[in-house]
Amino acid sequence: MTKTALQFRHNGRDVALFVDGGVNLLVALRELIGDMTPKFGCGQGGCGACSVLIDGELHLSCLTLAETVNGRAVETLDGLKDGPNLHPLQRAFMEQFAAQCGYCTPGMLMAAKALLDRNPSPSRAEVIEAISGNICRCTGYEPIINAVLAAASGGRARA
């Protein structure tokens, strides 16, 4: 099978790799780049565990052909923290006990980041809408909703 040369920004860093035709972005990130933060949940867009940002917009990496991100910027959970400093969303998730098993957490955080980037002061209904494509089995969602709202208001207080 022919390989396709692919270049894109991965969490602010240029990466270049060769991918087989039909390889999805999730596999490229996990197996070719070694970024294990996007999770494989269902592989068909039903759970949100693989969520990443492409040019700032939320996408399901399991349903995105790797070739289509050529020349674009991909952000994953791995790029969220700033060195040893957690992102306000990560801190809020920690403080609100918004993770138990943690498998949905990377996707939840990326969905929440996409929301706060376009709407720094979301309502509760807007938070619910923003994470409604992400399944969580442990928390009952309430702590996650509270964490996103806390990160949003915390961000305002600091700004």
Binding site: Q100, I128, T139, G140, E142
Partner: protein
């Protein structure tokens, strides 16, 4: 055609652990020369907080800071045996085993400290900040780190302990059928309020109020997260999830998250929880366990609330819109019961 509100209540007793031939768990505790302690377990933390709570129990029993304890649950091949993380048994069974192991390790640690300070071990106490000193004379002190180093390199002692907690098999009395399947029970009561649409059969959660009695809450935030998350599972079991139609035969069953339904963040409701603490006599620091019981009262409470709302008795789970609609049609329309 209208939406009807209804309220239902359910109370449960929940046995901690199981009794199918005895219910044991083991733990090992040892110190490293750094003065830090490792708890070895085969028990699994699947997000419920097993590592946090056993860490607290070990640190409290040893008398050292919680930061000085590391819990290793890595491998059921090499770790001490555990029956598993289920039946709400983790905190109670494994916690008791950790407590026993930490007690034995503390004995060795105090003996080693006594030898270094040239006093009787019975005259020593821990300050919980990583030091051991003579009672009433805090200046006669040695750090747990120095004790660990002395035990390892000078005295040739292992600061370690073994623990097992076994609830023995309860035999059934052949005359009466009587047995004691559990040594302690947790209790819960939950009120659910729902809204039933008699045109579509849909049931929406309006709110829940609950009270849980689960022994001493060793880590209140973890207990709360169990109760909040577990109640969601209860809603899911009551109204959404099913491996039907031919379970355990998977034929024609759900294959993915489009067919295996669960409530999303928009399907939850306000839930007010009261935690009542009545320490269990045989629990580690009085703890029982807030595991499976978090989900259990939700199901009967929701079924009762649906009866209160539209007068149909649903006795098969999950209570899907189709089932509700068929039941309403069978009785010739919604019959709201007295508001309670």
């Amino acid at each position: 055609m209208a939406k009807h509100r209804g309220r239902g209540i359910a109370s449960i007793n929940y046995p901690i652990g199981m009794n199918l031939g005895g219910d044991p768990s083991q733990a090992l505790v040892h110190s490293n020369p750094s003065g830090k302690f490792t708890v070895s377990l085969s028990s699994i933390d699947l997000g419920q907080g097993m590592k946090s709570v056993t860490r607290q129990i070990c640190a409290e029993t040893l008398g050292v800071p919680v930061e000085d304890v590391y819990v290793d649950t890595a491998d059921s091949d090499t770790g001490p045996h555990c029956m598993g993380s289920f039946a709400s048994r983790g905190t109670h069974r494994v916690g008791n085993a950790v407590m026993a192991a930490a007690k034995e390790a503390r004995g060795v640690m105090m003996e080693a400290a006594a030898e270094e300070l040239e006093v009787n071990a019975a005259d020593l106490e821990t300050d919980g900040r990583g030091n051991i000193h003579v009672k009433g004379a805090p200046h006669r002190s040695i750090s747990t780190k120095d004790v660990a180093i002395a035990a390892q390199f000078k005295q040739g002692k292992t600061i370690s302990g073994r623990g097992i907690f076994l609830v023995p098999l309860s035999e059934v009395n052949p005359e009466t059928g009587e047995m004691s399947p559990a040594t302690c029970y947790a209790h819960a009561c939950l009120v659910a309020e729902v809204e039933v649409d008699d045109e579509t059969g849909e049931v929406a959660m309006v709110r829940m109020d609950s009270a849980y009695e689960l022994g001493r809450a060793l880590n209140p935030r973890l207990v709360e997260q169990q109760l909040v998350g577990g109640a969601w599972m209860g809603i899911s079991h009551a109204l959404f999830e099913t491996p039907e139609p031919y379970y355990p035969d998977p034929a024609h069953g759900p294959r993915d998250f489009v067919e295996y339904l669960m409530p999303g963040p928009g399907d939850i409701c306000p839930h007010d929880i009261a935690v009542l603490e009545r320490p269990a006599a045989d629990g580690p620091f009085g703890a029982k366990g807030p595991g499976e019981m978090c989900a259990n009262p939700v199901l009967p409470a929701v079924a009762n609330a649906i009866f209160n709302a539209v007068g149909v008795r649903m006795d098969e789970l999950p209570i899907t819109p189709e089932k509700v609609l068929r039941a309403i049609k069978a009785q010739g329309g919604a019959r709201p019961q007295a508001r309670r």
